[in-house]
Assembly symmetry: C2
């Protein structure tokens, strides 16, 4: 029995323990977007440090202006490559809480109607369950062989869900400690339940909040209605103006740096077989809502977009209140592709809003993160090694996919540390990421650990 087989057997035999450890982490309410949960973020970081220390890592909490980082290191054999593993311990808010069938921070394993066991909890898939696949693989290697096949630095962030404000200063200050041959990031999905995937392109992001202020107080909409500027009316008009009738974003300069996907690649994507009915059908929709002339897959993988992620103003409780509120606001995200420049787009958006304000109204803006789109190099030797390791585990070729989501850290690894990233993840499209009843299939967790055990072995070769 070679070392890898011993490690895989170890992972099979210790699955219950791995679930127990993951449950401990899932019980910590580490919501980073809401300052009230700051102490819980610290608890999660501390839990991870202790767990990594128990494996034999040199691990510590590294404070930032926001939530702390976890930074850990374990040397590999002399001459072996060194990898930087990234994950995030923070999770999304849980509202609307009423839609959860089990409490979000009381993890349970339940069998689904498909006969597959699933772990239900906020963060089960995004990203606590995923990051623990790597940690468990390292634990098994250490237990079976007394060491790791490669050198490993681990970076766990606590602000991924809130725009990663501390990440760039942290990378800047820790360039040397973070130096590695390649980054491994576990925050993405499989192609489907049977087929592993590596994401080779990611959309970028510009997150913005705008609040429009009109009168100096809330007004009675009978006495003032029509004559007084209504910030909700104004906000709705401006937000509607952001897209034209064909679904294109109207910000000046928005499409600078956006290239059409080559016909050949479009054809490859088409052959993946996830058509509009399949992609949208599983969330109860049927009509691609983005730019005309693109399939739903193309819209999410290769086209930029503008989404309103939140809106508020006036009276929204039961009943009715004839009020013209003094202010109204929205949170808006732009997803970027190609060479779109986040800074230029943020400025263009702010100019767009400001130019449309009546002169007796004002707008204030708040930045919520941003990052360029990413395109990985298909020739990377590590990509070939990881692809082969994944085939050994899953028995299928790895799908090389684009991703609609943004993982700003990948861009920063590239631009600041000169490091490519392998994006390997095991979540599924029905995992309810960012939604009530988030889950992670038990096979994702179990075979995810086994996959990482194989990948680090492959990278060492």
């Amino acid at each position: 029995m070679n070392a890898l087989n011993q490690v895989l057997t170890n992972l099979d035999n210790n699955l219950d323990g791995a679930i127990e450890r993951l449950f401990e982490l899932l019980r910590i309410q580490s919501i980073s977007t809401d300052p009230a949960y700051g102490p819980q973020c610290v608890l999660a970081a501390d839990w991870l440090v202790k767990d990594l220390q128990s494996i034999g890592f040199d691990a510590k909490i590294s404070p930032t202006a926001g939530q702390p980082m976890v930074l850990a290191r374990h040397e590999g054999p002399a001459g072996a490559p060194h990898v930087l593993f990234y994950g995030h311990y923070d999770v999304q808010p849980v509202d609307p809480l009423g839609l959860w069938r089990t409490p979000p921070f009381e993890p349970v394993v339940k069998e689904g109607s498909d006969g597959i066991s699933k772990i239900f909890a906020r963060g089960a898939a995004d990203d606590k369950g995923q990051l623990m696949t790597f940690v468990e693989a390292m634990r098994a290697w250490k237990q079976e062989t007394g060491g790791l096949p490669v050198g490993v630095t681990i970076l766990f962030e606590g602000e991924e869900e809130s725009g990663s404000p501390s990440l760039i200063p942290f990378l800047e200050a820790h360039r040397k400690e973070l130096a590695a041959d390649i980054a491994l990031v576990c925050d993405t999905s499989m192609w489907d339940r049977q087929t592993p995937a590596i994401a080779t392109s990611l959309r970028g992001l510009v997150g913005e909040q705008v609040v429009i202020t009109a009168a100096n107080r809330d007004l009675h909409s009978g006495y003032y209605g029509a004559a007084a500027a209504n910030p909700i009316n104004i906000l709705a008009q401006i937000l509607a103006d952001l897209r034209d009738a064909d679904g294109a974003v109207t910000l000046p300069g928005f499409y600078d740096g956006v290239a059409e996907v080559p016909a050949e690649l479009r054809e490859t994507w088409k052959n993946l077989g996830r058509d509009d009915a399949a992609l949208l059908g599983e969330v109860g929709l049927s009509v691609p809502a983005g730019e005309k002339g693109y399939s739903a897959l193309e819209q999410t993988w290769s086209r930029p977009t503008c989404e309103i992620n939140g809106i508020w103003g006036g009276y929204s409780d039961p009943g009715f209140k004839t009020v013209i509120p003094a202010e109204a606001g929205a949170k808006i995200s732009f997803r970027l592709v190609g060479d779109q420049d986040p800074d230029k787009i943020r400025k263009s958006f702010r100019d767009f809003v400001t130019a449309r304000l009546p002169k007796d109204c004002s707008a204030s803006f708040e930045e919520h993160g941003g990052g360029r789109a990413i395109q990985l190099n298909y020739e990377l030797p590590e990509l070939e090694k990881a692809t082969k390791a994944l085939k050994d585990e899953w028995g299928r070729d790895t799908a090389l996919v684009a991703m609609g989501g943004s993982i700003p850290v990948v861009g920063s690894f590239q631009s600041m540390l000169g490091m490519d990233s392998l994006l390997v993840g095991f979540s599924l499209s029905d995992d309810n990421i960012h939604s009530p009843n988030e889950k992670y299939d038990l096979p994702s967790f179990h075979k995810g650990m086994r996959s990482w055990a194989r990948i680090v072995a492959a990278l060492a070769e």
Copy 2:
């Protein structure tokens, strides 16, 4: 000393007692739009019944499907006219609570920077303070003369701030008890601090709530952004489409029944001296936001409008959440003038929304009240008598004004009971109706009582 003078002196001498009684009523948190406050509405109704009984009225709580009505009666001298007085004991919600300088349900009298004492509390002006001006006038008449100069029926409603759902069935069932020569309604404003006003026209109202549903769950805006229908984007587009670039409402048929104000009346309004700078300046605005070509006064008094009174969807707490929510909603009110038909406009709005929905989305609607616009007859003999009585009290001619707000009960009195209404009120434009720090000037309260004492005497002549 004639009877009226005795009554006026009584009111002057008993002002402290009147304030104490009003404070008792203001302490009751009778918010009708929020079902949680239902029991407080019953308490307010009960308090009024007991107070009216103490004056000598035959008073009772009259249950409805919603909040109870207060119905009270006191006969007048043989051959004297009989009046129906209307007010409402329910109040608006108090949010945003943080902006109140004193707790909304702990009334206080404080001197303003203008040296005038003011009563601060939710409902101080709308409508508890106003309805008590009439009750106190009746109490003084009874104390001084042992009777009232006219027959009086009092109707206090508890759902005026939530669309008056029980009003029409109640009027239908109590036509006989409510029969009177004229209705007196105290829920309107003075022209300014020195000049009394009677409102001779009122805008009508259509209140609607719409919720747009897209995907079967909240989605990650990275994975699905562009391709998946975003109900906030859709809602913003539809709401923006409700008005054109010139501020006109675009609903088909919306302007049916809207007549231009005669040039002569526009001229009269112009001469009132409340120009755009004056009307909008006091709330921190300067640009009339309604239809082009009309002054702010004309927009609120004579033009229909569409206002978004509330909007919600997605994530609105601190931080950011890259979510495409499953649903988003808004509360919208249309203010009507002339012969605009509320039912047709409601239907036109629902058709307008439905026609603009992508086929994989749906909308649900909830009705929140409605009523036609009102135009009173300038030839009404009671109007002349009331005008004279108000001049005796205030020393100035009464301004006959239009009103942007809606008091649906006036339309129902006209259409169902064949009764005209005199709209006499003493609130001021800076009373913060429906806003934090609602107040009622002490002179409004005091001279309001005296005004009613005079008006009922004049009506008896």
